[in-house]
Symmetry: C2
Subunit: 391 residues, 2 copies
């Protein structure tokens, strides 16, 4: 006797956590368009359109730009397994969860990993990179997180890129929480391999991982002595499906691709500059409001897409998050690692980055914190944020 | 200056190829439900419901039953990378594209792979398995394809399972094209690791790979000496997200999970037995029609979900497929490997397995083959198929 679950009725949340972010109706609607085959002439055109739009959003002319059939972490693994093989050395920058994950993934490729570490919340200093390069001149690549989702730190890349290339190494960048919301200039900054996810500033549901490889990265791939350890993520085969040959590799996630295509259209219709400016303005307003409420940011260099703040002393972290969810339908993120129970991660990503959401969250948070006995200057947060919007 | 693609307008195909299959409106609609977070209490319930329904469809009580965040080939890789490590031996059965892919994936895990080969279209004989086990008694597992999508061959598993377990090995099964359309009894047949895809007989878009591991497979995982080479597919971590701990691993493809959930509801609402019987009846009708038209099946033991036939001599394969697509909106599949240009693969999977589709395809094919000068007994195909439906 079999039994099936009831009808699906997920709540309409406001997704202000570290991702996924709110998905516009246009994207959800696109995902429910009729499924066609993965070799259908219409689908092959859609793949080209997605690549073309990804190139624009990533500000690159890289031919090898595509969406991998997995979530952001599959994008991470794609970059490492294609570029590293046993015997290689790599330098990984570690200042949060995702740097740690990169180290783990690189080691699983059989590479010797050297790390540059700094406290969570900090960014990696150029001098530390210069020192590491000097100490490990044979490293094949340096990997760094542009937008550390666990701490909210916004990593500058230009100077580091120069050091890496002067040493003849490749630069591998995690841009999961920046692409589509912050400036990410793949070509100008000479990024050799970059991955991102769909569910952050692109405001598409999770399920695909856009990646881009420079010509230098492709050459490094072509010089490998061993097969890529992951068949599923092996770009030497997948590029023949995204390329002219259209060779069957695996069945692509058709309807997810529809969703990404629509999400990219929305980004480009708004315009990259406008979108980046919107993320900045809403971040500044939220920041002004949170600080007026007495909350402190964790990173000195904060992302505009993610606001990581310390939970005030004596406040019940879980209660606040659960009240936000149950009373307001607002999801914010908890702290990870050393920040477990001690941080909130408030996303303003893609469609969720709006004046409406900033003001709603500030109002809700003020109410809940006041209930918890925190001394909050009534109305100060909304006033401070309002002043930013009015400026 | 950026430019975006136009509005998305995919055609409404009838998907009768080797997958994806037609997706019911209910599933497409479920996929467009509001996105919630991957740690939202509502989503955690949805994961439990999906596991519970998967267990029913796979006829297993395996606790480790879940949907991996990738397409069917990611499911294949999941089974191999978690069970094999360098130094292991494996026996892989090879009678089509997917056996060959399993061999490739197993070798990339650092395992020594022994193969049992037979001609494409044939199934693997028990005697060949017995011989291989005798020759390679230290193999950790035997991998075999239940439903070989490249040839349409339907592999019996019960006798082989007994041989494998008598030798103390694990049985790993590819059931991508059988689950949800043919009988797949994970517990009764003692399958230790099985993967499938969503886009075949489950009639959900591609993007997730259900997998199930027996207790014996979990124990083998737990005895590993090395880390799983794929971080993304490492079940030792992912089981803590699907399990009680709910530890964050990666951001699950929320809306794809909605789709799978709805697809599983449809399977269970129809009832597994009814669904299997429907696939069989429609296959028998199509087969009667195709044979009445003079077409010959490639495999002796054919799947009911996939019908692989030889392209008749003198017929222009590509022209037939392209006319079916352009005039009727019907997708059928081309041959792969040695059957390139020489076979058609006609799927009757999930929602696409219907009397309507059988009759439409037979009529369309008769018209096109007649145009190409093939001598077809007019009306014989529809009559033969009709007789099966009437019986």
């Amino acid at each position: 006797m079999t039994t099936s679950a009831g009808q699906l009725t997920p709540s309409e949340r406001i997704l202000m956590g570290p991702g996924p972010s709110d998905v516009p109706a246009r994207v959800l609607e696109a995902m429910s368009a009729p499924t066609v085959g993965h070799l259908d002439p219409e689908y092959l055109i859609i793949m080209n359109e997605v690549r073309d739009m990804l190139q624009q959003v990533l500000q690159t002319k890289n031919q090898m730009t595509m969406a991998m059939s997995g979530t952001g972490s599959a994008g991470m693994e794609t970059c490492f397994v294609n570029l590293l093989e046993p015997g290689d050395e790599a330098i990984v920058c570690l200042n949060g969860v995702f740097g740690g994950r990169m180290k783990d993934v690189a080691e699983r490729c059989g590479a010797t990993v050297h790390t540059i570490e700094t406290d969570w919340g900090n960014v990696i200093e150029s001098q530390a990179v210069a020192d590491a390069i000097k100490a490990h001149p044979n490293a094949k690549l340096l990997a760094i997180v542009h937008a550390e989702t666990s701490t909210g730190a916004h990593q500058p890349l230009e100077e580091i890129s120069k050091l890496v290339h002067d040493a003849g190494m490749l630069l591998l960048v995690d841009a999961v929480t920046s692409v589509g919301g912050l400036d990410v200039r793949v070509d100008d900054w000479q990024i050799d391999a970059l991955y991102t996810g769909t569910q952050k500033c692109l405001s598409c549901p999770p399920g695909l991982a856009p990646v881009t490889f420079s010509d230098a990265a492709v050459q490094a791939m072509d010089k490998r002595k061993t097969k890529v350890q992951s068949w599923y993520l092996d770009l030497s085969m997948i590029r023949n499906y995204w390329g002219q040959e259209r060779s069957y590799h695996h069945t692509a996630p058709i309807n997810m691709t529809y969703g990404l295509r629509e999400a990219l259209r929305i980004v480009l219709d708004e315009g990259l500059e406008n979108r980046i400016a919107r993320h900045k303005r809403n971040h500044l307003a939220l920041r002004a409001g949170l600080e007026a409420m007495g909350l402190n940011y964790i990173p000195e260099h904060s992302l505009t897409s993610l606001n990581a703040v310390h939970v005030p002393d004596g406040v019940d972290d879980a209660n606040v998050r659960s009240r936000l969810l149950n009373e307001y339908g607002i999801e914010i993120g908890a702290g990870l690692g050393p920040f477990k129970g001690k941080a909130w991660r408030i996303g303003l990503m893609g469609s969720a980055s709006s004046q409406r959401n900033v003001m709603l969250l500030l109002g809700a948070l003020e109410t809940i914190l006041t209930d918890q006995g925190v001394s909050v200057d009534s109305g100060a947060a909304l006033k401070a944020a309002g002043a930013v919007f009015a400026s």
